[in-house]
């Protein structure tokens, strides 16, 4: 891992609110060899809109670290947008194995850094603390053998604890629910590992459904504005996964996507749902979808 860019951190805007940008503008925030990270979980708060924008921009060589993911990461893999992936899980759970992920790995198109929960969270904790490594317990599984690069060189004096090397993403993309006028970001329910990911990363983009003028009066913020460098305000940015208080997981759309990839009809799906503006994307859905539940 490269050392923390302290100069950049010192220069990072502090009291000023994060800058509002579009999905497209985010793509040029970092160099082409940067390590991106996607937050969220298998069912909610996943940056699907950013995934679609990356494909529209024609990126083919992304290095990506992902929390457990379904649609956004699988879509990127199905579209050949990723060359290297750090992941512990890509799956559609009861809907079956992830077809884009399977094809990318089984055809040798994708290189992979296999990690699991203890390795990923140790690596992020190390980065968040500006430490070279963080200790994880030996669990007996094959991850350290499959990914020897995840283990740092350090003698901890306990054979049952191993040092996991820090991983610091250059740009992390998170999908919250809404922001307030100061740029604090809110998740009405769980935020999974997104706070840790934000503290471990050089730059953070938070995508939200809307700016709520009274947001700071409703509930405690999940991500304080000083951890958020850029905001993308785009309704349905997390669709077809769930954003609590805005929309549920869209079962029908998930099945449409899976059918398209499994039947080698991704181009058809992409024409309809990816190579369209976010506004057009919203128009194609039920007009009541995405309206906040009062």
């Amino acid at each position: 891992m490269t050392p923390p860019d302290v100069a950049r951190r010192l220069a990072r805007r502090k009291g000023a609110p994060p800058r509002c940008v579009t999905f497209e503008e985010c793509i040029d925030l970092v160099d082409s060899d940067a390590l991106w990270a996607f937050g969220g979980s298998l069912r909610e708060h996943a940056p699907a809109g950013m995934a679609r924008a990356i494909i529209r921009a024609g990126k083919k060589d992304l290095s990506l670290l992902s929390m457990p993911s379904s649609y956004p990461v699988d879509l990127l893999l199905a579209a050949d947008a990723v060359k290297h992936l750090y992941t512990m899980f890509v799956s559609f759970e009861e809907r079956g194995l992830a077809p884009g992920y399977r094809r990318a790995v089984e055809t040798g198109h994708l290189t992979l850094t296999e990690i699991d929960g203890p390795v990923l969270f140790s690596a992020l904790k190390a980065a968040a603390c500006d430490l070279p490594w963080f200790p994880a317990r030996v669990t007996g599984n094959d991850i350290a053998a499959l990914t020897p690069s995840c283990v740092a060189e350090a003698d901890l004096g306990d054979p049952h604890v191993i040092p996991i090397s820090a991983i610091r993403p250059n740009l992390t993309v998170l999908q919250g629910a809404y922001a307030d006028r100061y740029g604090n970001v809110y998740y009405p329910e769980t935020s999974s590992g997104d706070f840790l990911l934000a503290t471990a990363s050089d730059l953070v983009v938070a995508c939200v459904e809307e700016i709520r003028e009274d947001g700071d009066l409703i509930s405690p913020a999940t991500l304080p504005s000083f951890l958020v460098d850029y905001l993308v305000v785009q309704p349905l940015g997390g669709h077809p996964l769930r954003i609590p208080d805005y929309y549920d997981l869209d079962e029908e759309h998930m099945n449409t996507y899976l059918r398209a990839v499994r039947e080698s009809k991704l181009e058809e799906y992409a024409r309809e749902w990816v190579y369209v503006s976010p506004e057009r994307y919203s128009e194609r859905l039920n007009p009541t979808l995405g309206q906040r539940v009062p």
Partner: protein, 256 residues
């Protein structure tokens, strides 16, 4: 597929959920991970039937399911009401702390006789025949939860193998390493549950031993569907089919 004359009301997964629910102890805390519909059903049934003070969390979306309220009102057995999923950043509990959870349920593409499971890949790692979803928190839960159950919905020689291709969760033994030599103070897998049978881990090191078969299933049937040599316990019992009370609770939990 339906069995046991319950018409089309019960699937194999339903029956597995009922059987799993019987293993849950009252007054404990459980956890479920990804692809866990069957596991959640089992836990909810346990709460409704015999373990009102069993609670569990869903690691993926941070929900906590109580079996009963502080005034004793039962909460299980009915459709889960909408409520806030509020547990964030539980990684210290899931990935570092011993015994934070009393019980977990894991599955896999493969399992071997020592209870090692594989959700990573089938075949050579760099050129797999089948890429699985990945290890997620299997390693942590298998090492840290006080005990866990393995559920294999597909009981076939391809999934029950002599030696798993890759280990996502360490069971009891692998290439001479044991839970003790790895410094793991927890119990590890206690049983493998399949639509046909139940294996418990007996001996030293503990090995999957056939302890129960579903009605109408023979030891030979189980061996024909198992890729490793089946060791039978002294007594192989017939697994109790779902009772009317269990079926009623399941149908209520499903909202039928």
């Amino acid at each position: 597929m339906t069995i046991l004359g319950h018409g089309d009301r019960l699937s194999e997964a339903d029956i597995l959920a009922i059987r799993l629910s019987r293993t849950i102890h009252d007054g404990t805390l459980g956890i479920v991970g990804a692809a866990s519909g069957l596991h959640v059903t089992a836990y909810r049934l346990a709460q409704a039937l015999h373990a009102p003070n069993f609670s569990f969390i869903t690691a993926i979306d941070g929900a906590l399911f109580h079996g009963s309220a502080i005034d004793g009102t039962p909460t299980a057995g009915a459709c889960v009401p909408r409520f806030r999923r509020s547990l964030s950043d539980m990684v210290d509990l899931i990935d570092w702390q011993y015994g934070a959870f009393d019980v977990a349920i894991l599955g896999g593409l493969q399992v071997d006789c020592y209870g090692n499971t594989n959700t990573i890949a089938i075949g050579d790692y760099s050129a797999p025949r089948l890429r699985g979803p990945g290890p997620i928190g299997q390693g942590a839960l298998s090492a840290l939860a006080t005990e866990y159950h393995i559920v294999m919905e597909n009981h076939s020689p391809r999934s029950f193998v002599d030696s798993v291709d890759h280990v996502s969760a360490f069971g009891h033994e692998r290439h001479g390493r044991t839970r003790k030599s790895l410094g793991l103070p927890t119990s590890g897998p206690v049983a493998i549950h399949t639509p046909l049978a139940q294996f418990s881990f007996l001996g030293a090191p503990p090995r999957a031993s056939l302890t129960g078969v579903m009605p109408g299933v023979t030891v030979e049937d189980v061996q024909a569907r198992t890729g490793f040599a089946v060791a039978s316990a002294e007594k192989v019992e017939e697994i109790e089919p779902p009772s009317d009370r269990e079926i009623e609770a399941l149908l209520t939990a499903r909202g039928d």
